[in-house]
């Protein structure tokens, strides 16, 4: 156990990085699942009355699934930039802690935005049920919520790049 801690948390930052990456995936994944459940529940109610709207509601139901992918991209990016994937580890403990913070913060944003997007999707599904011809416009409502998940993804990518580049200097 002591060897493990020394190897992954004191000598290198691999352990911290893995925790950060998995936190991002965990929060994003759970958020997406909750968001899809909220939208799916609403869609199930509508479809019981209007099964012909299935095609129009499919994309609305799937919208909150995006944050799960963004989180996955963050995790992959962390793993790739720190050499976890290639085996050539290049991350110090301090960098690992910083990356962990990035992963947790990004994960929380992904989580909340997925849940909120699920709620916005549910509202858009109600709108589509009442006015099916407006289904195209209704997609834009939940899509707006996603902007902040994208901002978190972008910030994560930039911070991962900066943190991993810092090693060169120090």
């Amino acid at each position: 156990m002591e060897d493990f801690v020394t190897q992954y948390f004191l000598k290198t930052g691999a352990g911290w990085t893995v925790i950060g990456a998995m936190c991002a995936v965990m929060f994003g994944g759970v958020g997406s699942a909750r968001g899809i459940r909220i939208a799916g529940g609403q869609a199930a109610g509508v479809l019981s009355e209007k099964p012909e709207l299935f095609g129009k509601l499919l994309v609305l139901m799937a919208l909150p699934g995006t944050q799960g992918f963004y989180s996955f991209i963050i995790a992959i990016f962390m793993a790739a930039q720190t050499g976890l994937l290639s085996g050539a580890l290049k991350v110090t403990p301090l960098m690992g802690v910083a990356l962990m913070a990035v992963g947790i913060c990004a994960g929380i944003v992904q989580y909340r935005s997925a849940v909120y997007q699920g709620e916005a999707s549910a509202a858009a599904i109600s709108m589509t049920a009442r006015r099916p011809e407006e289904s195209g416009r209704s997609i834009l409502i939940p899509a707006l919520v996603e902007t902040y998940a994208v901002v978190a993804l972008l910030a994560s990518i930039l911070f991962i790049m900066w943190i991993t580049a810092m090693k060169v200097g120090g």
């Binding site: 129009k56 799937a62 919208l63 963004y70 996955f72 990016f77 195209g136 416009r137 994208v150």
Partner: protein, 667 residues
């Protein structure tokens, strides 16, 4: 590859002919009936009494809902996804109309369904009673009937064995009540109580509170064994009733096809009846407004002369701001993409049909998300078989054709990334075979994969802005095309070059210089033009500046970055497909135990099932997320849906499709 041109049609006839016009027009099947504009002076809207038709429709719908349960078809699943009308010849429809007694069948089906439900409920209750007492059938105990004893009441009780041990406790039952355990089996005890009539209620109440359940008393006192046998007989009787009702309903279920035909026919009748309510009258004449495809103008005039004597037809071009129903016609190759446009919503009449412009993007995105050569081959084969199987149903055929195209790109991306059922063939046949070759392995170089996904995103967003320019250009707004599209096509590539120069300091200096100039010219153009509708100079400049961010105007830098990053899902989905496939291969390999042939067979069986499972799940994700990239990111740049579908009276039904006798013979 276009939105069909339509003409506005005015049909005018003497008032006396009005009631017959919709029906005769339905036979012609060329005119989409619209409401006569309320603003027309001196016109009174006609009223249509549709109650009788609606009552028939209600009966038919209820009948069909019940019969569906007893006559399931594979098409039920597919028709949930895409409207698939059933086919029939005119003769079949006429026979169905003759053979189906709507009221009689409705009554019969409802009675049978009610009988079945009642028998099911009774069987459920009998089953519960049987489960409670069956275990005690060996006990030689009489089950007293209600009121069998003159001065007292004897009752049998069931209780958990632990509770039954309490029968000796003082106060459990009133003084003078006799209570005794008769036996215990499987944790449950059978208990008998005898109480004077005046004490019986009190005793029963206390025993219930203590967790004892009374056994329902039979009509006549019988031995417990006989009581159980009687419940068993009752249960059998109820089950037989359920089976009999089910069999009769299944027999009637054979009429489902005819009932659907009749329902479709009556739905048409309802539309025809409603058309009467859309007509308007002057003192002596009646007018009906509608639309006809320009290519059918000739046929309408001929049909009017032949089938609508006394009706004058006036045709004109629709006005500029008019809400015109839309019909799309695409070439055979691009028709599958029309499926996506119809799924999202039809374009406005004065806009353009984006089907042909989105197809390449969609199938490419799908290929990236699924990206496996073996999956691609399987999908092409399956889609081809389904295209042939459902060639008579345009909706389904287009959907499967789209999947076929997607299968081709899936195969190509799979070959380029060296993914053949993930790494199955590479592991089994060796790295040095064709299966070991890859132009790019995204698992090895995920950042390169991410770069490619984002490049595709950039290209698609630029394509979307180009579409906006095309739309404006088509409508004669050449300056709008330049201001709302052209300047973004300078600013955004400029920004991309600047970002590239920032992250790659080794890039040649011209990249940064070109980026700066492009971004500067584009930004200046947008600042000066996006507020052009504002009145004051300050307003124009403020709106122009804010438009760069994206709150107002046609696009925005923030939206552009968000849209582009959204394409990173292409890599995520592609990796997910491959990683799940690799997991299947690892598990299949673990199952390949030492007995040579059997081990190999188990390996093959698991690999097939696992990869089929992965294919279905990943294909679903690939379809949904590729559609999302088109609907949200791409359509968001230029497309406004919401037009009404062109639906000629009498010619379109989502339920039935009438074939000519020749076509039926050929199919």
């Amino acid at each position: 590859m276009a939105i069909d041109r339509v003409k506005k049609a005015w049909l005018v006839c003497p008032a006396a002919q009005a009631p017959t016009v919709p029906e005769r027009l339905a036979r012609v099947g060329l005119v989409h009936v619209a409401e006569v504009p309320h603003g027309e002076a001196a016109l009174t809207m006609l009223s249509a009494d549709t109650r009788a038709v609606e009552a028939q429709l209600r009966r038919l719908s209820e009948t069909l809902d019940i019969l569906r349960e007893f006559s399931k078809t594979v098409k039920d699943f597919l028709s949930n996804l895409i409207a698939t009308p059933i086919e029939a010849t005119r003769r079949e429809l006429a026979e169905a109309l003759k053979s189906i007694d709507i009221e009689g069948l409705h009554q019969q089906v409802k009675e049978l369904a009610a009988r079945r439900a009642a028998a099911q409920a009774a069987a459920g209750k009998a089953k519960e009673r049987l489960a409670a007492v069956a275990r005690f059938r060996g006990l030689d105990v009489p089950v007293p009937a209600e009121g069998a004893l003159r001065w007292s009441r004897a009752t049998l009780w069931l209780a958990p064995e632990k509770q039954a041990r309490r029968i000796g406790e003082p106060g459990l039952v009133p003084e003078g009540v006799v209570i005794e355990q008769l036996g215990a089996v499987g944790g449950k005890a059978l208990v008998a109580s005898v109480a004077l009539r005046e004490q019986a209620e009190e005793a029963a109440s206390r025993l219930r509170e203590a967790g004892f359940e009374p056994l329902a008393a039979p009509a006549q006192s019988v031995a417990l064994g006989n009581h159980v046998a009687a419940i068993e007989a009752e249960l059998r009787r109820h089950k037989q009733d359920v089976a009999a009702a089910k069999a009769e309903l299944a027999e009637l279920g054979k009429l489902r096809h005819q009932v659907e035909l009749v329902l479709g026919h009556w739905e048409g009748k309802l539309e025809t009846a409603r058309a009467l309510g859309k007509m308007a009258a002057t003192g002596r004449a009646v007018v009906l407004a509608g639309y006809v495809r320009a290519r059918d103008e000739h046929r309408l005039r001929e049909a009017a002369a032949r089938d609508l004597p006394g009706v004058s037809v006036v045709l004109e071009d629709p006005a500029a701001g008019e809400s015109v129903p839309v019909s799309l016609t695409n070439t055979r190759f691009f028709r599958p993409a029309q499926f996506l446009v119809e799924m999202f919503g039809l374009p406005g009449y004065h806009a353009f049909d984006p089907s042909a412009f989105l197809m390449a993007s969609f199938v490419l995105f799908y290929g990236f998300c699924l990206g496996d050569a073996v999956y691609g081959v399987l999908q092409v084969a399956l889609a081809w078989a389904l295209v042939r199987r459902y060639r008579a149903y345009p909706g389904l055929r287009n959907f499967f054709m789209l999947l076929l195209y997607c299968g081709v790109t899936t195969f190509v991306v799979g070959v380029l990334t060296g993914t053949w059922a993930a790494d199955l063939f590479k592991k089994e046949l060796g790295e040095k075979t064709i299966f070991g070759w890859a132009a790019l392995d995204p698992l090895d170089k995920p950042l390169v994969g991410l770069g490619i996904a984002l490049m595709l995103g950039l290209a698609n967003q630029f394509w979307g802005v180009t579409m906006r320019m095309y739309g404006a250009w088509r409508q004669g707004d050449k300056w709008g095309a330049l201001f709302d599209g052209g300047f973004w096509l300078l600013l955004l590539p400029g920004l991309v070059l600047l970002i590239a120069a920032f992250f790659a300091p080794a890039a040649p200096a011209w990249v940064s210089r070109a980026g700066s100039w492009l971004a500067l010219i584009g930004a200046a153009g947008l600042v000066l033009t996006q507020g052009r509708k504002e009145k004051s100079l300050v307003g124009k400049l403020v709106v122009g500046l804010v438009s760069l961010y994206g709150i107002v105007g046609t696009y925005g830098c923030v939206s552009f970055i968000g849209d582009t990053l959204s394409y990173s899902r292409l890599l995520a989905l592609g990796l997910t497909t491959t990683i799940v496939g690799m997991a299947v291969n690892i598990i299949a390999d673990l199952l390949r135990f030492d007995i040579v042939l059997i081990g190999f067979l188990v390996f093959v069986a698991f690999a097939i099932v696992g990869h089929l499972f992965n294919l279905v799940l990943s294909a679903l994700g690939a379809f949904i997320h590729s559609a999302r990239l088109i609907f949200v990111e791409f359509f968001g740049r230029f497309y406004e849906p919401g037009a009404q579908r062109f639906a000629p009276l009498g010619a379109t039904s989502s339920r039935i499709r009438i074939l000519s006798e020749d076509a039926a013979a050929n199919s």
